[in-house]
Symmetry: C3
Subunit: 137 residues, 3 copies
């Protein structure tokens, strides 16, 4: 395979902070060989992270973010819903860019790792994630 | 295009925490095709992030960093200006490495995203950022 | 060189929060040309960061993590040792994925930068890091 393959994944996140996208990323890579998979979020109030889902960490992350970036704080950024200023600081800490090595079409994630879209903005339930795959010739 | 192209961008940051480098990164990629652009900061007290600039988030990030990493705390790292110890913790949270997918020479950033050099160290106003572009053959 | 080269580095971390892996990453890249080196941690309670080691920042990071993610907080994730819930939030902030540009087999790190495995989980002293190198044809 030559060239970079790239496509956009569309998500409906509603008001959830976290959306597990592991399955979609794995499907995107499944017919590809060895290379690097870039997971990139083209939004200014969201990021992408890798952690275990389904055991409480989603809720723990929500609490930690609330203590790091309290919605009630006085933010200079004042557009949108109350507390929206903090949504804009989030991607400085939970980056919108992530790279995952892929071998023989399989993500090299560990057993307990999931790829998670993290979005603290409740005003935009329709979101996109760009998936790109770069292999050597 | 074969091989990786790489060059160093030189910045004069003065005592600003944040410097928007989107234009320079876009110009670096403009004559290239599809691939991954690595933005890498070779300094131990700076990182690179993606967020919206010009609407207050720069100031919000400064406040959040001051609450996460208070300059007045007792840091084990004690070289340089008072509070310099916290500058050395910053890149653990705002990574010096970022990858952005590029299609047909254009960064795939969202409308409100900018690439931002983040440097809380006021002692070194001259800084570098390494830009590298990797395409498949 | 064509294709992606990838191998697993095995670490014995004991109960240390941080392990400097710069030497191992540099050795992995030493016989390769220009390209991107992915450093990827396949564990759900660890990440990888770049910062200066040997001057106190390791201890400073430990204090900052304890204030951001206090072990004594009530976490929803309750498996393992007390405070283990916070270990699972750590990779949302200290990502398990990092990319470093390599030129002529040399990491383009700055003088004071080291690549550091960060693992707050004391229950699993045997750890792995996947190193991958992608070059253009």
């Amino acid at each position: 395979m030559a060239g970079m393959e790239s496509e956009v994944l569309r998500l409906t996140t509603g008001d959830r902070l976290t959306t597990d996208i592991t399955g979609a990323v794995a499907r995107f890579c499944a017919d590809k060989g060895d290379g690097l998979c870039s997971v990139f979020v083209p939004h200014a109030t969201a990021g992408v992270a890798i952690f275990e889902t389904g055991s409480g960490t989603e809720e723990d992350l929500e609490l930690i973010l609330e203590s790091m970036l309290p919605r009630g704080a006085r933010f200079a950024h004042r557009h949108g819903s109350p507390g929206h200023g903090r949504d804009h600081v989030l991607p400085a800490f939970i980056s919108p860019s992530l790279v995952i090595p892929v071998l023989d079409g399989r993500l090299t994630l560990g057993t307990w790792q999931s790829v998670v879209f993290v979005d603290s903005n409740v005003d935009n339930p329709q979101r996109e994630v760009r998936l790109s795959f770069l292999a050597s010739a």
